[in-house]
Each structure stands twice: as structure tokens, then as C-alpha cells.
């Protein structure tokens, strides 16, 4: 009890709790109720449906790959933005948040126009025999787009606070640049990198707006799980939609727990004396 003399404990407690109760908890309770209402038949049907399994695999497997790509590209971009000085650096830095600021539907149709076979990039990729739009690859591009800022924004403050003397010490002890990177820098950056990776992953797994336009939504191939929820709702299969939503939330929950364990482990590793 720091400062109970301050006014407004009762008021702010009442307001905050009732708002959260009405906006967040009550609707989530409705979800749990509807999903438990779904009989064994609904659940069995979901888990034995090849189309549902394929969609879940694309949403979570795709998000995993997209977040890995984000981690690689984000590490490079954060490094360049923090360590190098070049004209236009601040402008580029501001644009990192574009995927956060751009509405997902806008990002969706823009990426589709860009990567479609007649688009600016799609044309060149088609020449190389690579198909992106209306294929699973398009799903990956959209997922990587929306998750990208998370990695850069979690790495930047850590890189800025990094003591360069450690790198110099490693180099003066004869470490090659690659060794300095893998043995000194990467362990220090690992917890932040994992945080960014986890945020990008969570965002990509549930992503809808930016994915559905570029995906082409071919059943079994480029159909994401949130789209199946929408389709079930359109067929008034509320129980099926609720059950699928619970499965998605469960998957996300397990993934985030795994990552937080990984993070704790990498954090311990970074604290070991070098």
C-alpha cells in the first residue's frame, strides 16, 4: 500500500473491473460456453477434417516460418539502423512501423497487387518461376510483413545499450568477426530476439486481413484457420466456429509458454561469464 491517501481507489477499481468484465471477460465466457456446448461430434469432425488440419498447419506452421524470416531480416535491419550512420536513416527508421500503422485490408490488397503475376515484383518473380500470390508463399509474405516491426523494435533498445567494449575485447583476444557474432553478440541479443520472434509469431498466427487477399484461399493449400472460422459463422455453425477458435487460442497459448521457457533459458545463458 504505497499511497492509499490518494483518491479514487474505489472508483478506478470499479470502473476498470466492470469495463474489463463487460468488454473482455463476458464475451470470452460466451466463447467457452459455446465451445463446451459443441458436442463430441463437432470436435471429432474438426479434428478429423483434413481441411481444418491443413488450415491450422498453414496458420501456425506458416507463422513459424514467417517469424523466423522476420527474426533474420529484423536482426540485420536493427543492426544497420543502430550501428551505421547514413542519410535517410531516421526516415527509414520511422517507416519500420508501417505494418503496424497500415490497416490490414490495405496491406492485403497492396501486397496482392505487388506480388500478383502482373505486379511490380510478381512479374520478375514469375520470370524466375516463383509464384507468390494465390499460393502458400503469399501467405508467408503477408505474415512476415505484419510481424516484421516487432523484431526490429524489441532489438533496437538492446543493441543501443550494448557495450561495444565487449566486442572489442573479443576481437583483441583474436576472435574472428563471425566468432564475435555467434559467441558474444548473439547470446546477448537472444532474449530480445526471442521476444520479437514470439510477438511476430503470435501476430502472424491469428492474422486475417492482410493474408486473405494474397492467399487465394484454395482449400487444403492456402486457406488459413481464421478464414475457416469466418466460413463456419457464415453457415451459422456457431458451435464449430467457437470450437475452432478455442483450438487456435490453445495453440497460441502453448506456443507462447514454450517461447517464454526458451527465453528464460537463453537469458540464463547470456548471463554466464564469457
Amino acid at each position: 500500500m504505497r499511497r492509499r491517501v490518494l483518491p479514487g481507489f474505489g472508483l478506478s477499481l470499479g470502473l476498470t473491473l466492470s469495463y474489463l468484465g463487460l468488454i473482455v471477460l463476458l464475451p470470452l465466457a460466451a466463447l467457452a460456453w459455446k465451445a463446451s456446448d459443441a458436442g463430441a461430434g463437432t470436435w471429432l469432425h474438426l479434428f478429423s477434417s483434413a481441411r481444418v488440419i491443413a488450415a491450422l498447419r498453414l496458420s501456425f506452421g506458416g507463422a513459424l516460418i514467417a517469424a523466423l524470416l522476420d527474426a533474420l531480416a529484423g536482426l540485420l535491419v536493427a543492426w544497420v539502423l543502430v550501428r551505421y550512420r547514413f542519410p535517410g536513416r531516421r526516415l527509414l527508421d520511422a517507416f519500420i512501423d508501417l505494418p503496424f500503422a497500415m490497416p490490414t485490408a490495405v496491406a492485403g490488397i497492396a501486397l496482392t497487387a505487388l506480388y500478383a503475376p502482373n505486379g511490380w515484383l510478381g512479374g520478375w518473380l514469375a520470370l524466375a518461376g516463383i509464384r507468390v500470390a494465390y499460393a502458400p508463399q503469399g501467405v508467408l509474405v503477408a505474415m512476415a510483413f505484419v510481424g516484421f516491426p516487432f523484431v526490429v523494435r524489441t532489438l533496437q533498445p538492446v543493441l543501443e545499450n550494448l557495450d561495444r567494449e565487449i566486442e572489442e575485447a573479443a576481437e583483441s583476444l583474436g576472435a574472428r568477426r563471425w566468432q564475435t557474432f555467434t559467441r558474444v553478440l548473439l547470446p546477448t541479443l537472444a532474449p530480445a530476439l526471442l521476444t520479437g520472434f514470439a510477438l511476430a509469431l503470435a501476430r502472424a498466427a491469428g492474422e486475417y486481413g492482410s493474408v486473405i487477399f494474397i492467399a487465394g484461399n484454395i482449400p487444403m493449400r492456402s486457406e488459413i484457420a481464421p478464414l475457416l472460422i469466418v466460413q463456419k459463422l457464415e453457415q451459422f455453425d456457431y458451435a464449430g466456429a467457437a470450437a475452432l477458435a478455442v483450438i487456435m487460442l490453445g495453440f497460441s497459448f502453448v506456443l507462447l509458454i514454450l517461447i517464454s521457457h526458451l527465453q528464460r533459458w537463453s537469458g540464463r545463458w547470456a548471463e554466464l561469464p564469457a
Binding site: L31, T104, A245
Partner: protein, 270 residues
Amino acid sequence: MNAIVMRRASAWPQRTMRAALLLVAVAFLVVFLLFPLAVVFAEALRQGVAAFLASIAQPEARSSILLTLLVAGIAVPLNLVFGVSAAWLMTRFQFRGKALLGTIIDIPFSVSPVISGLIYVLLFGAQGWFGPWLDAHGIKVIFAVPGLVLATVFVTLPFVARELIPLMQSQGGEEDEAARVLGALLYGVLLCNARAMGEFGAVSVVSGHIRGLTTTMPLEVEMRYNEYDYVGAFAVASLLALLALFTLAIKSLLEWRYADALAAHAPGGH
């Protein structure tokens, strides 16, 4: 001795390596982030300025703009009041269950937009908890404006609270506290508004896509796109892209003005 020789030998490749990394990173950002932005305006103006203007002057476009402003105009102030209240509660008092409360505030950020809409359908839809009661009293929530507002309030709920809580927790000088809190407040409202106006997935589930009545700007973009009216879709999309650019500009301005207050912040998720 060996090390010295090696470092001299690697002096030139190191400079090349820096240039290569810089080039790759900048090229990646231009292609990956700026091309999608540029293509929105290019496609919107593909058939000239007149076609663009005619497209956004259509009644459905105008009603979608008004609806977007209305929904954000209700959702953002509500979440502003909630955010201030939650931040005051979380930073000025000690009580049991505080950590749990923080987790609950963050829930909307970790839920798929589609599920964010779905939960309101399950609550207020025809087969939902309150569906029969609402139906008997002639109140429409789903496939109507109240549903759009509720879904938007849900997805944008954490923004203001999340900016204010870490700031009000840190011990700062009393004299500049007001300015720093104002900075964080503006920052939270800015992000909350950008998301509220641009929300698609959650709103799409509860909207029913009734033209002129329940289509916000992002939904109008989707409908025009699916009707092969590409210029029209990108024209409305370009207005939303301008909003995104405006948001980024103000965000940079706030970060520069309140640099110390907003520093070392975890990024705001969507």
C-alpha cells in the same frame, strides 16, 4: 602477431562487408515496406485523378468514411477513459490480483481479430447468449453499428493503458510529470485511433457487410476489391494509407518531443 596480421588483412573486406550489409538492409526495407505503400497510390491513380476523385465521392465511400469516423469517435474516448482509470489503479495502489489484471488488459492483443469479432457474435448474435432477448426487444447489435463499436473497443482496449502504465510507474521529477503523461496519453490515443479506423477482421465478422449502413472504410475496400473495382478499392485504401502516414509522422514527432518519456518502451502490438 598472427592476430595483427589477420586484422590488417581483413580491414578492406570489413569495409566492403559494412557497405554490403547497409545496401542489403536498405534495399530490403524499400522493397518489403515502401513498395506496398507506393503501390496503393499508384493503383488508386491508375486511371487518373478524375477517376480517383469520382471514386471517393461516391455515396458508399462517403458513408463508409462517416461510419469509420463515428466508430472511432466512440471507441477511442471510451478506451481513453478506461486507460486512464486502469493506469491510475495499477500504478497508484497495491492490491491482490494486480498481475492478473495486467494480463487481462493485454488479452485483446493476443487474440486473432476474427475471434475478437466471433465472441461478440456468440454473445449478441441470433443464436447467442442475449440473442433471443435482444430480438424480442427489437435491438440489433450484430450486423449493426453497436456491434462494430463493441468489436473495435475490444481490439483497441489495451493501447492507452499500455502506454500510460509503464510511464506512471517510473519515478520521475514531479515538475515534468504532467508533460510526460500527456506525451504518453497522446501516443496511446494515436495508436488506438489508427487501429480503430483500420480494423478489419473483427469488424468484418460483426458487420454483415450491409452497404451504406455497416461498412466501414476497410470493409468498403474489401467489397470494392471483390467486385473487381480495383481503382475504387485502392482509392479508399489510399485514404487509409494517408491516415497511416499521418500516424507515423505524429508518432515520430511525439517520440522526438517526449524522447525520454517514451524511451525503452516495448513495442505496442496489434
